[in-house]
Every structure is written in structure tokens, then in C-alpha cells.
């Protein structure tokens, strides 16, 4: 039964290759997108660190995005 499932009546190579190509490509794009997002979060946090204490406080008070990016970055380290 398992042999039949893998062989797919002679079409196994084409069927499995189609699904494998799709899964591999999707996984690769997911991984690359995730890595880029984390890199940008890290760079943003670094830029924030470069600001003076008062400037940083002001940015974090004014920008919800900055607060959330910093929180997300701190969670991931």
C-alpha cells in the first residue's frame, strides 16, 4: 500500500517533485523573509541606541512602531 502511494501508479516522480519543489521554494522564501525582517528590526534597534537618551525617550513616546519594533527585537534576543 505504501509502495503504491509512493509510486502513484507510475506518476510518483512528477507528483512528488511538484510538491517538493513547491514546499522547498515556499520554505526558502519564508526563511529569507523572516531573516530580513529580523535584520531590519536589529538595525532599527541599533539606530535607536545611537540616539541620545532624551531623543530615544522622545522617539519611543511619539512612535508606537518604534516601541513595538524594540519590544519584538528584545523578545528575539
Amino acid at each position: 500500500m505504501i509502495e503504491n502511494f509512493i509510486n502513484m501508479n507510475g506518476y510518483g516522480l512528477f507528483v512528488w517533485l511538484s510538491f517538493a519543489v513547491t514546499v522547498t521554494a515556499c520554505t526558502f522564501v519564508y526563511y529569507k523573509t523572516y531573516k530580513t525582517l529580523k535584520k531590519y528590526e536589529k538595525d532599527f534597534a541599533k539606530e535607536l541606541q545611537k540616539l541620545s537618551g532624551q531623543q530615544r525617550k522622545l522617539v519611543l513616546e511619539k512612535s508606537k512602531v518604534a516601541t513595538q519594533v524594540l519590544a519584538s527585537y528584545n523578545k528575539s534576543i
Binding site: F5, M8, N9, G10, Y11, G12, F14, V15, L17, S18, F19, V21, T22, A25, C26, V29, Y30, T33, Y34, T36, L37, Y40, E41, D43, F44, E47, L48, L51, Q55, V59, K62, S63, K64, V65, A66, Q68, V69, S72
Partner: protein, 235 residues
């Protein structure tokens, strides 16, 4: 209305949506793959090779739909000049390119056992290849043009010109003699596909749409952070 897509307002929501999709994605994936590879019956003519349809057809639909959305948003952007729409189109384009390429590759893998050839210069396949070129032009316009305003303008023009290709892809099977069969699933009128095959097809479409939403949200979030980082001192 356009305030609803203000990045600062929806940033928190993006994070929540990413977490939600991540939590349900694998359950849907398992169910859809079980239907596509095990529970659905083989076709009476094509046998088990018909299972390639469950990745090929949704990929082609997503490739086409993504470009249509990009073109539509580019037209809106030309009229109303909403900068945020550029971030959205820029985030959709790689997803569209991925699925157009997947439609071509899986189509080739389906073509060999069904038609006896990996590739044919048939109207549908050629117009899909043209769509890939439009996606590449759109993405490279953003990558290669350093001035952001100019890059946005050029990519919008590419998207609007590329819109001509969408009805060509859709109706290529009716306008020319091609290897592809006419559409089996219609939004208007009755579909000619049996429910035992329609269910796995729609489930796979749902899973791939969830994946697209996940990638789009991550890319959109990256774009927002990039813009905020550029203007960090003006925040």
C-alpha cells in the same frame, strides 16, 4: 478610508495576524495535503498525475491575482498619490513572482506525463512567461533605481502596462488553440470539476493564501521598519 492602511495604526495588528496565521497554518497544511495526496481520487484519464493540479492551479491563480492587485493599486496610486500603496505593491510582488514561477515549473512537471513534453510555446504558457518578466521588471525597478520616487513611478508604469497581459492569460485558451483545456472552474456558471477534486483544490488554495498572507505581512512589516529607520530622527 485610506487612514485604515496607515502603517503606524496597523503595525500592532500585523504582529497579531502573523502570530495567528502561524498558529493555524500547519493544521490547514496537513488537512489540505491529506486531501490532495491521499483522499482525492485519481482522474479516469490522467490517473494520479492529476494531483499536480493541486499545486499548479492555485499557484497560477495567485500569480495572476497578485499582479492584478499590484496593477489596480498602482492605478489608485497614480490618481490619489498614496505613498503607502507603494509599500503594499512592493511587498506583494515577490509573492506573485514565486507563485508564477511555481505554476510554470509544476506545469512543466505535469506536461511531461500528460502531453509528452516539458515545454511548448503555447499561448497560455508563453503569456505566463511574459507575466514572470513583468514581475522581474517590477522588482528590479525597485532594486536598481536608487531614487525611491522614481523607482515607484517606473514600477507603477510597468504594473499598469503589464495589466494588458492578464486577460491574455485568462482567455488564451479560448482565443487560440492551445494544449491547455478551457477553464473547468467558473465564478459565473457551473463548474465542470467533481466535488471530490474541487474540495482539495480549494483547501490547497486556502493554505497557499494563508502562506501568502504570512509572507506579505512580514514583508510589509519590514518595509515599514525600513521607512521608520530612515526617518528615525523625525519620528
Amino acid at each position: 478610508m485610506f487612514d485604515l492602511i496607515n502603517p503606524s495604526k496597523i503595525f500592532y495588528l500585523i504582529e497579531k495576524l502573523i502570530n495567528f496565521i502561524n498558529s493555524i497554518f500547519f493544521i490547514f497544511l496537513l488537512v489540505a495535503l491529506s486531501f490532495a495526496l491521499i483522499l482525492s481520487p485519481p482522474d479516469y484519464l490522467q490517473g494520479d498525475s492529476v494531483r499536480i493540479m493541486y499545486v499548479h492551479v492555485p499557484s497560477a491563480w495567485i500569480g495572476l491575482a497578485s499582479f492584478s492587485v499590484i496593477s489596480f493599486l498602482s492605478i489608485i496610486n497614480f490618481i490619489f498619490k498614496i505613498k503607502n500603496l507603494n509599500l503594499i505593491t512592493k511587498s506583494i510582488a515577490p509573492i506573485g513572482l514565486l507563485f508564477t514561477c511555481l505554476a510554470i515549473v509544476t506545469g512543466s512537471l505535469w506536461g511531461q506525463p500528460t502531453w509528452g513534453t516539458w515545454w511548448a510555446w503555447d499561448a497560455r504558457i508563453t503569456s505566463m512567461l511574459v507575466l514572470t518578466i513583468f514581475y522581474l521588471l517590477f522588482i528590479f525597478a525597485h532594486k536598481l533605481i536608487p531614487q525611491e520616487d522614481k523607482a515607484n513611478k517606473v514600477s507603477s508604469i510597468i504594473a499598469i502596462v503589464g495589466l494588458i497581459n492578464i486577460p491574455v492569460i485568462k482567455y488564451s485558451v479560448d482565443w487560440w488553440n492551445t494544449l491547455h483545456q478551457p477553464a473547468s472552474i467558473k465564478l459565473t456558471g457551473s463548474s465542470t470539476i467533481h466535488s471530490s477534486m474541487l474540495v482539495p483544490l480549494l483547501l490547497m488554495l486556502l493554505v497557499l493564501l494563508l502562506y501568502c498572507a504570512l509572507i506579505f505581512l512580514m514583508k510589509y512589516k519590514t518595509e515599514i521598519i525600513r521607512i521608520k529607520k530612515k526617518n528615525i530622527k523625525r519620528l
